[in-house]
């Protein structure tokens, strides 16, 4: 009854897409308007926290290799931590602006985990290519939450932060186990197939 790995990617993509839309809406209307209703203020931090919690079963059940388990465990830790910090900030329990760096750290650690746990440099294979792309996107994207922590009112940082989630969702939706991406380029890819 365990879902195939690609389905897990797609389910996480759905949560991350909703998270991205909420952040994009917050970037457009401003944080003050977005937080006028309590449930809405908690929506995206709660979603981030839930995605972090849901990474724990992924770590437990998808043990293709030790490095996979360690990478999934690291994601679970940093996502849960960053989501929890954002929830505490909305609740008013944490005040120091430096706490915003938790999300930047989560981005950077997630990016590194993506790069480290995908050890195949088979860029002709969709899964390997996308893991490398996701890793670098998260690493570069960590600039946005970092700027957001230094300049909380920056529209550029807020929009970049939100769009990073949308881009990650698109990449996760593209992840399919058997599909090649640049198979026609490499002779190592073997017979072309859909």
């Amino acid at each position: 009854m365990q879902p195939p790995a690609e389905h897990v990617h797609w389910l996480f993509a759905t949560g991350i897409l909703l998270l991205g839309l909420c952040l994009l809406a917050e970037a457009v209307v401003g944080t003050d308007v977005w937080r006028r209703r309590a449930w809405r203020a908690y929506l995206w931090p709660g979603l981030a926290f839930a995605l972090g919690v849901l990474m724990w079963p992924v770590m437990v059940f998808y043990t293709n290799s030790t490095i996979h388990m360690l990478a999934h465990g690291t994601w679970a830790e940093v996502m849960t931590f960053a989501g929890g910090v954002e929830l505490a900030r909305v609740r008013g329990k944490l005040h120091a602006p430096a706490w915003s760096l938790a999300m930047a750290a989560a981005f950077a650690v997630s990016g590194l985990a993506f790069l480290v746990h995908e050890q195949n440099a088979w860029f002709f294979m969709r899964s390997s290519f996308l893991h490398h792309l996701l890793g670098w996107t998260l690493l570069v994207g960590s600039v946005f939450p970092f700027v957001r922590s230094v300049r909380p009112r920056s529209n550029f940082a807020a929009a970049g932060f939100a769009l990073t989630f949308v881009v990650i969702a698109v990449m996760l939706y593209c992840d399919r186990d058997v599909a090649p991406v640049f198979g026609h380029i490499s002779p190592l890819a073997g017979e072309p197939h859909r």
Partner: protein
């Protein structure tokens, strides 16, 4: 004789650029899902459900994208637009 006062008539809401932008997020997301479903119909297992397992029937990415767009449009947007309008009214 029509006794309805002018003040009671529904005034068409003039949306700001921000309101229009945020209102477009949900429909654009759902539209992206629809276009994706048309471009890659083989990713919709509901169109060929024979011999498909549970997860292939439940998790269909284009439908999930459409669902996210619709959820945002119907659950998040109405209150957000009302609050945006309220904020605009108070700041006048």
């Amino acid at each position: 004789m029509n006794a309805e006062l002018v003040s009671e008539l529904d005034v068409p809401v003039q949306r700001t650029g921000r309101a229009r932008l945020v209102a477009a997020l949900g429909p654009l997301t759902a539209l992206a899902g629809v276009i994706w479903a048309i471009v890659q119909p083989y990713r919709l297992t509901i169109l060929h459900p024979q011999d498909q397992s549970f997860w292939w029937l439940v998790v269909e990415p284009p439908l999930l994208v459409i669902a996210v767009g619709l959820f945002f449009y119907f659950a998040v947007l109405p209150g957000l637009l009302a609050d945006l309008e309220e904020e605009r009214a108070t700041s006048r």
